[in-house]
């Protein structure tokens, strides 16, 4: 059974994609959605940017560069994850090895999908984002318990996260289990609500 692992903190160097409005069609193009599994999608992450027309890795794309190796924190421009609701986007990021994404704004459905899979969306203010975009490869620590992002110059930036989402990340809570435990309330509601 696939449930998310508990996460307390993530420390990594950053890999940086300095573009705004990175949509989920870029994160994983629709032609890779003809699958009935959620496994192995990392191979197709950012496919049209990552590979050349003949299918070889594009040496200029940031995720193919040697310094990106082992990085688990991705920094992207404002409005990250806009467009399609495909959960294949966070699945592909996680399968590739990304554990957290930092941006100044996330699209709602992408953010919701990410949290349900243990991919941490970290929202920072524009000056902090600009600094991170301008300084790739910085070592950062994302602490879920205190919802802070620690930067290498000693600064510590709070990021917003709903208490329930934070609790779920910290304890690896299975949200379906939580909903199933509301069965009595759902049954009572169904008795008074007609569709």
């Amino acid at each position: 059974m696939k449930t998310i692992d508990a996460i307390r903190s993530i420390t990594s160097r950053t890999v940086v994609l300095p573009r705004t409005d990175i949509d989920t069609d870029q994160i994983i193009p629709a032609r890779f959605l003809r699958t009935t599994s959620r496994e192995g999608l990392g191979a197709q992450l950012f496919s049209d940017w990552r590979y050349t027309a003949d299918g070889k890795p594009n040496p200029d794309f940031v995720l193919n560069r040697p310094e990106a190796s082992g990085c688990t924190v991705l920094v992207g421009g404002r409005n990250f994850g806009c467009g399609s609701s495909r959960e294949h986007a966070p699945w592909a990021l996680l399968d590739f090895g990304i554990r957290a994404v930092i941006s100044s704004e996330f699209a709602d459905i992408f953010r919701s999908n990410s949290l349900k899979n243990g991919l941490v969306p970290v929202v920072v203010d524009e000056p902090t984002l600009d600094w991170l975009l301008a300084n790739p490869g910085m070592s950062v620590t994302i602490d879920i318990e205190t919802n802070t992002l620690a930067l290498p110059d000693g600064r510590s930036v709070k990021f917003p996260i709903e208490p329930f989402a934070r609790y779920c990340l910290l304890h690896g809570v299975d949200q379906l289990g939580y909903l199933l435990a509301s069965d009595a309330a759902i049954t009572a509601y169904e008795q008074r609500h007609t569709v």
Binding site: T35, S85, D108, P163, F164, L179, L180, Y189, H193
Partner: protein, 468 residues
Amino acid sequence: MATPPKTLFQKVWERHEVVPETVDTPAVLFIDLHLIHEVTTPQAFSILRERGLKVRRTDLTLGTMDHSTPTRTEQVFGGAPIVMDSAARQVRQLEVNCAEFGVELLNMASDKRGIVHVIGPELGATQPGKTIVCGDSHTSTHGAFGALAFGIGTTEVGHVLATQCLLQTRPKTLAINVEGSLRPGVTAKDLVLAIIGKIGVSGGTGHVIEFRGPAIRALDMDERMTVCNMSIEAGARAGMVAPDETTYAYLKGRPRAPQGAAWDAAVALWKTLPTDQGAVFDREVTIDASTLEPMITWGTHPGMVAAVTGNVPARSDDPVFDKALAYMGFNAGQQLAGAPIDVVFIGSCTNSRLTDLQAAAGVLKGRHIAPGVQMLVVPGSQQIKKAAEELGLDKIFIAAGAEWRESGCSMCLGMNGDTVGKGQYSLSTSNRNFEGRQGVGARTLLASPLTAAASAVHGRITDPRDLL
């Protein structure tokens, strides 16, 4: 004591709270209609199977096949196999899942099949005041009826299948007041593109939009669906239009709409839904429909949009702008009208309904598309295809040199065999012009069915008012 005035959104939300939101926990929200399709559900059914769970409310769940399905008749109706094995597997898997879990499925052979956001309204399953979800971001379409309708991920599809509920935090509200009236040749698609151009592709993030005002009231249901459909392109959680006589006239007599005394009771309830006088929205934006022109996108997201009579903007020191222009092969400041196109696509959940096809056919009647242009017309559902054929629209399209296909998402998202080639310009009535959306390297220009048809005739971006 009088209750405080409420918005349409508030009323629908509060009617569906199984457990209200608290400081520490999201609301448990009941879902009245769950639409499912082949691409975003296999992994959800797998979770149900692993955990030994059932579909809680098969009576509130409806399946169809649209995204990865072919549009060529011989593949749809089984004379020839679906060319792509992966698509055939998804279609088969949905059949297996629906049979095993007892969910109604409008399969490839069904004359009621179609794009999920087209068939819900067409069957009368989409109704005012309902909560409607689907594993597809364009679920916002159903908000045209005064439903609260939004796209969800596959994990949430599993939540709804198992519990008929979702965990949700309450969004903010954004009123978009559309004053005045649209001029001839300017459509609902142009209006929503102009709105996205004004508020931006993340202008609605965290909000449910209510589209209001005289220009919205004047729209028919197909047009309201086009507007609500693209709410997500402004980043909104959902888009809504208050139900009115136009809504009721559309729904009355549809197979899944209430009938007889139940109809009267439903209408009485629906009439309580519109936003009360004095209700407060978190934000308000006003736009004057009377000043709008036909619109077309020039960049790589729907907010990069201009009047078809206008120009690509000129900006300096903007790397995002430069990348978009490089991808599109456009120059800053260049005129849009007259730019050559290769492909025209009329279809998608945005613009594939009967009135969209009639608008395009009206332009193409007695005309032919330009040499070298490929044009695909893909109705939103099998029922729309049949209705269009009864009106002879298929003959107009075919005589004009276009291809007439079976229903589906088709060229909107390039995952079913209908794609645009690398570097080609596609004038498309769909909803997204992201890089590679219609095929690797494809360059998409979003516009209305009128603009698409007029441009097909000239092989160049054309103001449709020149041909009306």
